[in-house]
Symmetry: C2
C-alpha cells in the first residue's frame, strides 16, 4: 500500500512512518518542521536528541534497506497539498500534521487563531485535494478523546443513539472540548464528516487518548532513529512529564485534585492502531470514528504508578489546576472497535514504566527544570512563558 | 443601552441598527463592506437599490434625529476589533458580521476556506477582545437553524437531555450542518460556548431560520433607508427568490421533491428577537441558544403559498437538487424561548406575501434572469457562475 504520513517528522508521525515502512508499505512523509520551530519559540528541546529528517531517513535506509520519500511543505498551502498527492499517488493518507498542544493553543489570541486556522485549513485543503484527485484515497485522521470532554454519561465511538420524545436517531456524539486546540479537532471532525457525505470520501477519525512512551521496535534499531520526548509544560504530556520529574527529584505536579481521568495508550499501540485502520479502510462515503486508547487512569493514579515504579524517593504535589476542567468526574468511554480489528494492547505495567523512567534517566542532564511548570493559565487570555523570549505585543 | 451591531451594513444588520436606534439605544455599526464586494464578484446586485452606508446614516439622522456611529474595518483584524470596543464601550455586541451564504461557501476550495477562516477568526478575535476589555459585554451572535441539520428526532434549543445506559446529562445538541458555511457557524458555537466556560463571558446564540421580507417600520420611513433584497442563486433565499420568479413570469424552481422543511421568520421578527435577547441578557458565564424562527414550511409549501398570493399565473418546476440534503424528512424544532420573552410573531399570511411580491414588482426591471439559477453544485468541488467573471485558477 502507498501511504503518505502527514506530520511524519513529529513525535508519532516519525515512528508511524518507520513502522509502516518496515511492514513493506511504500511510505512518504510530509512535514513543514513547524514542530521544531515551536521548540525554538518555547525555548525548550526534546529530552531525547533527534536527527534532522533527511539524516534520519538516511539512517533508516541504511538500517532497514527501505526508502521513505519526503515532501517538505505546509498543508495550508493548497497547491503544495495537491502537487504532493499528484506526485505520490497514495492509497492512504495518515494525517498527524496539526498543532497538537492544548496549552500552546491557550497561550494567547495569536496562538489560538494560529492553531484553529492551521489545523482547519490544512484539513480542508486535504479534503479538497483528495476529492479532486482521487476520492478513493482513505483518510486516516488523528483526532483526540478530548473532543468529547467529560460528559456525565458513557462516551461512545463518534456516534450515539438518542431516543427523544418517542423517536430514535443515531447522531454525532455531542462534543465539549476543553481548549482551542481540542476545539480545532472538533471543527475538523465536522468538516470531514461533511466531505464524506457530499463527495463520497472515506475517512477514519482516530480519537486518540494521551500517548506515553518513546521507544518502538523500529526507533530502537539505531540511536539515530529516535523520536522526540517532550516533558515541558506546553508540549509534554502527563505520564512522560511525571517520569522526568521523578528522575530529577522534582515533585510530581498533580493539577488540582488529580481526579481528571483520561484514556491513555502506549506509543507502540498508536502505530498498531493506525495500521489496523488503514488495513481495514472505511467504505466509500463512510465517516467512522475509533476511540484510540487502551486504558483509563486518573492523573493521581498515574502519579502513584510512577512513584511505585521509580527506584528512588518520589513526592507528589498538588498545584492549582491551570486548566478549566472538572477535577473529579464520571468517565467511561467505549474503545472496542480497534480491539475488534485485532489490537493487542501494551498495558501500562511496571516494565513499561521502568522503560520510560530509563529513557528519562539516560537523558537527565538535558532536563531544563524551568521548562516543566504549567505556565499557561486557561483563565487568562494571555500567559507568558519563562523559557520563551519576550513576545512582541499582539 | 450601548449596542454595537457588527455587519451593520448588511441585509439584517442595517434594519436591526435602525430599529435599536429608534428605540433610543446608542447604536454603532461595524462593517467592512465585503457583502457589497460579493455583489461585484458574483456580478449581481440587490434587487432594491441601497445607498452607501455613510449616505444612509445621514438619511437616518435627518429622518429620525438619531445618530448612529460607524466603524469601518474587518473582524479578522484583531487590533481593529479591540480598538472599536475600546472606543465605543458597548454593553451589547450584536454579531451579524459573517459570510452567510451556503452556496457561496460551496463554490470551490478558496470560498470554503475563506468562509471558515473569516467567520471563525472574526468571532475568535471578538471573544478575546470582549474577555480582555470587559467580560460583562453581552454577545448576541447570529447562528443558524442549519447547524442542526435534519435529525430524525425533535430539535431542541441548543441542548438536549440524553439518558444513556442508565445515566443522564444535558449536552450540546448534536450538529449535522449541510455546507461549509453552516459548518463555520457550528465551529463558532463551540468556540463561544468554550469562551463562556473559561472566561465567564455571557452569550446568546440565535439559531435563526430563513428570513423573508425586506421592509421594516424604520426602512419604510424613507427610500434611502432600504435594506438589500437578494434573489440570486448564491445569496438569495428561497421565499424572496420565489417572489421574484413569480413577478417576472419565471417558473418557481423547487429543488428536488421540495419536501425540505425549514424554520422561517419575517425580517421584522429578526429585529424583535435580537432586541428581546439583548434586553434579557445571558448571565455571566452563560452560553444560551434560542431557536429564532416562527413557522416551518417545506419548499413546496412555500412555492404554493407564493403561487396562491400572486395575482398572475405561476408555474412550479422541480429541478435536480444542487445540494446534498434530504428531500423529505422529519422536522420538528422547538422555538419557545423567544416566545417566552414576549415575541409576537408576524406570520406568513397573504398580506405579507403580497407585500413581498409588491417589492419585487416595483423593481422588476432590475431583475437579472441569468442570476436566478442555482449554479453551485454541492457534489462538485468547483462550480462556475454564469454572471461572474472568469476566476483565476485555485
Amino acid at each position: 500500500m502507498r501511504i503518505l504520513v502527514l506530520g511524519g517528522d513529529g513525535y508519532l508521525g516519525w515512528p508511524t512512518a518507520l513502522h509502516l515502512s518496515r511492514r513493506g508499505h511504500d511510505v512518504g512523509v510530509v512535514d513543514n518542521f513547524v514542530r521544531r520551530q515551536y521548540d525554538h519559540e518555547m525555548g525548550v528541546d526534546s529530552l531525547v536528541p533527534v536527527l534532522g529528517l533527511g539524516q534520519r531517513l538516511r539512517v533508516w535506509n541504511e538500517v532497514s534497506g527501505f526508502t521513505v520519500e519526503s515532501f517538505v511543505g505546509d498543508l495550508t498551502d493548497a497547491a503544495f497539498v495537491d502537487a504532493t498527492l499528484e506526485r505520490f499517488e497514495p492509497d492512504t493518507v495518515v494525517h498527524f500534521a496539526e498543532q497538537r498542544s492544548a496549552p500552546y493553543s491557550m497561550i494567547d489570541r495569536r496562538h489560538a487563531v494560529y492553531t484553529q486556522v492551521n489545523n482547519v485549513v490544512g484539513t480542508l485543503n486535504l479534503l479538497y485535494a483528495i476529492a479532486e484527485r482521487d476520492p478513493s484515497i482513505h483518510l486516516v485522521k488523528l483526532g483526540t478523546m478530548g473532543e468529547y470532554g467529560t460528559p456525565n454519561i458513557d462516551i461512545e465511538e463518534g456516534f450515539i443513539e438518542i431516543t427523544h420524545k418517542g423517536r430514535t436517531d443515531l447522531l454525532p456524539y455531542p462534543k465539549q472540548p476543553g481548549s482551542f486546540y481540542h476545539l480545532s479537532k472538533v471543527h475538523d471532525s465536522h468538516n470531514i464528516q461533511f466531505a464524506c457525505r457530499v463527495w463520497g470520501l472515506r475517512a477514519t477519525d482516530l480519537n486518540q487518548g494521551v500517548v506515553y512512551g518513546q521507544e518502538t521496535d523500529e526507533t530502537t534499531l539505531h540511536p539515530g532513529l529516535a523520536t522526540r520526548f517532550d516533558y515541558d509544560g506546553v508540549f509534554g504530556t502527563v505520564l512522560n512529564r511525571f517520569c522526568v520529574q521523578a528522575v530529577v527529584g522534582h515533585p510530581l505536579t498533580v493539577h488540582g485534585k488529580g481526579g481528571q481521568t483520561r484514556g491513555m495508550l502506549d506509543i507502540r499501540d498508536t502505530l498498531a492502531c493506525v495500521e489496523l485502520a488503514l488495513l481495514h479502510p472505511a467504505a466509500p462515503g463512510e465517516f467512522r470514528v475509533f476511540n484510540q486508547f487502551t486504558e483509563s487512569f486518573s492523573v493521581r493514579q498515574m502519579a502513584d504508578l510512577v512513584a511505585g515504579a521509580h527506584s528512588g524517593p518520589v513526592s507528589i504535589e498538588h498545584i492549582d489546576d491551570p486548566r478549566v476542567e472538572k477535577e473529579e468526574h464520571y468517565y467511561r468511554a467505549a474503545h472496542t472497535k480497534l480491539l475488534d480489528l485485532g489490537l493487542v494492547p501494551h498495558l501500562l505495567d511496571n516494565s513499561t514504566l521502568r522503560g520510560l523512567l530509563a529513557v528519562a534517566e539516560r537523558h537527565r542532564d538535558r532536563v531544563d527544570l524551568t521548562a516543566i511548570g504549567a505556565t499557561v493559565d486557561w483563565r487568562r487570555t494571555a500567559s507568558s512563558l519563562p523559557t520563551a523570549g519576550v513576545a512582541l505585543a499582539r
